[in-house]
Symmetry: none
Subunit: 215 residues, 4 copies
DNA sequence: CATGAATGAGTGTTCATTCAT
DNA sequence: GATGAATGAACACTCATTCAT
């Protein structure tokens, strides 16, 4: 039917409002009135606001997780054949591609990155726990492959560098709209998400290959 | 006096609670009851919750801004004498030193970084506006010096790279406790803020010096 | 069949939950989820929560009423033969026996007494009206026989004494579990319902035979 | 002033409504709208509905407890002088007198008894716990004196008989209005609370002096 | 200068009930 | 004959803010 069902309408609206204002600042009434849905429908379908928040994430992470696993399967199979190690660039490239692919089916990477930024910064302890427990293994698999691709880095150093990079990505992609406005105003260039990821690429690679501190 | 005055007690408590839970999730009741201060005192002394949030930031940014200006004065004077340009490393070093210096007078850098992270991610539009209008010039002065130190970079590229770096710094420093716990658990190393900044240094420099995208 | 049908499952569960928590404190969701029955089933089968409450009572009072009528028939027939009046003790004994007999078919007297206590104390005006209109005649018949067995008592006095007794019975039997726990803890005796009724017997008889007030 | 303060208005209204409908069936909105008081005032002054319920009880039990202790002091002092034991009748009489005295200052015993009945029958576990912890010692003192006044009764038997009596008292006094209406309609007598207690007196004494079961 | 009391608007959640299928 | 979905009303409670004192 033309009118998507209640659950989808709630998720679509919640996703946008959460991204715009944050979780605590978005009330269920905000969501349901904008989604033209009965207030009680949220609790009926999701049980609680907390679960709604998790459901919003699950809708992104579920297909991401599945595709990323598949993409890593392929990558590993290809290199298993010729016995070579998967290079770092290829791993990062695969992740970037998968990230870009998934939300393309719906509206935008920006919303998800904003949500991811919120998940880290807001007092939503349950969210980090939920994401870790549900999707932790994909990330573990990825970091393990990164480890093999960067054998020269001590484990702790790699851990921190991955988080430096994660910070760059989440921070710039989640604040994309505001930053893009400034950039456009000051430098007259309007960047797309793809271009921004293009800009991130060499920076990320350099960051991972930086000399050891104190060297 | 032994018992700090009401205003200070409110600021001290608000700062900690905001950092722990976020702005929306921290009620004035939380703050005033923990600070053992009358509920009405916040509105009496600060006017509103919004103003309290700004006051919390002002207490960090005021001395930072003043010291950073002074540090840049010195730096410029020194290089003016021998006619040389200020190198990027020295600029970054000066900022890091100043950032570390200021909150040392109170408790911790971590709290401020957490607040800064919140300021960017949470729906506190007023905060970004406030920080920009009150302390924008110090940051403009800094970015102008960075521009002179990296003449080979196009302006837009420099803009984005500075934000990539800002993301790394805010993300890792604001989530410091959680990340430190993971790192300690997984790699048995407990890093101090100084060590973490030490780890950031080469990564940040490499990031700024990365090859141009598409090159 | 092994799995009792929906109506019975609802009644069984409702009875227990009502007794445990009271009527208002037990939601239809509590009942239907515990009974593993669709939420709408209650309204489908019973029409409303109010009717469900009445149905729970009917399931006890229907067989009780029928048996008690039969028991009183026998009692009257026996004494009609020898022309004697039915003594009070025999009436009370008959009631006690019937009360004990009926719920024995299901689980417990305690539940029913608890429900009866709730019916009197809770704001379920409809319940008292319902019980009176459906089962009032059995009780009228019984009180009339009590009247003949205690001709020396003024009607009003008898009325009040019967209610004093009713209070004792309902109060102790409906709070049986809690009181039994205390008694067991303090005096090391675990009483059964039969024993408790044994303890009630002489007290009830003495109460009915107490001297008139002001005498 | 003519208009009693907010706290008192809430307590007065809550007491009446609780007695009329029960605790769960009375909403804070019912109370505050009838008391012409802001809805938030209940939580401001009492913290929660639960605490309001306890406060309603405390307003009765506090003065009762104090007076009853004083009355027992006198009674013990009087009998200590002539070395005699306090007879049961005098103990019961003292309790009855104190119970009647206290609420006389406000409106009615009936309301309190109704509340007491609710406390026992409704799912207000916190209430029994609260009453026990706050006023348990006064009741312990009383039952200890009853023990000395009835040395011939086994402890367990005394325990149960006291509860039989408690049931009679609470049941009849808490349902007073309804029962009084029936009695008036059927027997043309309108009893006062004092008369009802007069009727209870000989019944209660007989109940305590009934022969042992099985004797 | 400071505060206890109060308030109107809002929160997430639960309720019994209805209804299309 | 039965049920998943939905709903309007109500719930207890919390919020930032105001104001008389």
């Amino acid at each position: 039917m033309a009118q998507p069902d209640t659950v989808t309408r709630i998720l679509d609206t919640a996703e946008v409002l959460f991204a715009e204002r944050g979780f605590a600042e978005t009330s269920l009434r905000n969501i349901t009135s904008k989604a033209k849905v009965n207030l009680a429908a949220v609790n009926y379908h999701f049980g609680s606001k907390k679960s709604l928040i998790q459901a919003v994430f699950a809708r992104y992470l579920e297909p991401f997780s599945e595709r990323f696993h598949r993409a890593l399967d392929e990558l590993e199979a290809r290199h298993a054949r010729d016995g070579s190690e998967i290079p770092l660039e290829e791993l990062l490239e695969t992740m970037a591609r998968t990230v870009l692919e998934v939300p393309a089916e719906r509206d935008s990477l920006k919303v998800f990155m904003r949500l991811l930024g919120l998940a880290y910064s807001q007092a939503q302890g349950h969210l980090r726990g939920y994401i870790q427990s549900e999707y932790g293994d994909v990330f573990s698999r990825f970091t393990e492959l990164v480890r093999r691709a960067t054998p020269e880095l001590p484990d702790a150093e790699r851990f921190w560098r991955l988080h430096f990079i994660l910070g760059s990505v989440i921070f710039t992609l989640s604040g994309l709209d505001a930053l893009r406005d400034i950039a456009e105003h000051d430098y007259g260039e309007r960047v797309s998400v793809h271009e921004l990821i293009g800009r991130l690429r060499p920076v990320v690679v350099s960051a991972m290959q930086a000399p050891m501190p104190g060297a």
